[in-house]
Symmetry: C2
Subunit: 138 residues, 2 copies
């Protein structure tokens, strides 16, 4: 089976040439049922496993940065210990499980309305991000 055309379209729509490296990266990122959270490091490992020819790390960085810039990925950071990316680009929030270092989506609709009582005047809100840090209760 071949989803490549979907990825080619995705890349083209973002103004990126569909090279074989980028298509492979898209396959790892987007060819899955559930949304995917990853660090660049983990992605590099996955690519090495799933790929015959190696993809240089410069290409991985360039491609991920380009996809992020075009809005196909979302960047999330947890106190800079690790920089995660998320294939779920809808407006949503996160649990971060400190016990496992795992990141879990919280749907926007699963959080009640955020009421900012004193907005900054003369500024436009670009985004509201909530990070709920949790740990195993024991």
């Amino acid at each position: 089976m071949n989803n490549n055309n979907i990825f080619i379209e995705k890349l083209r729509s973002a103004g990126l040439r569909p090279t074989k490296q980028r298509i492979k990266i898209c396959k790892v990122l987007f060819d899955r049922k559930k949304t995917f959270h990853f660090t660049i490091n983990y992605l590099k490992t996955l690519l090495q496993k799933k790929t015959d020819q190696k993809i240089s790390q410069a290409t991985v960085y360039n491609t991920i940065n380009a996809l992020t810039k075009k809005g196909h990925l979302k960047e999330i950071s947890i106190n800079c210990e690790k920089n995660y990316f998320d294939t779920n680009i809808s407006s949503h929030h996160h649990f971060f499980n400190e016990s496992t270092q795992e990141l879990i989506d919280i749907d926007d609709s699963d959080i009640g309305k955020i009421n900012i009582k004193k907005p900054l005047t003369g500024k436009k809100i670009k985004s509201i991000e909530i990070l709920v840090k949790v740990a195993n209760s024991n």
Copy 2:
């Protein structure tokens, strides 16, 4: 005037020996009216300006990390572009002005109650952090 005793107490209460380097750092951090947001880099610059003898960067990092670990500082990260620290350790949130890279406190009481409709079972919430990214509206 001399607030040093206050800083010495603060350091001791955190189990840190009040060395002259640490006291100088405390002075820069805590001897102010308003809360203070800073990057390590900015702090190093300030210390260099306000100090006769230079403090090595290893000491700056060690001290800031120790104070953070003991809860005298709070760490905030904005997509890892920059890692900020905040002398305001009360439960609160932040505006981040993308136009100026400036970080502004939002008091906990200036945000309405956060309603997490589907909490994670078996996990304890450690913290909830809201980051409101804004930009100059023009």
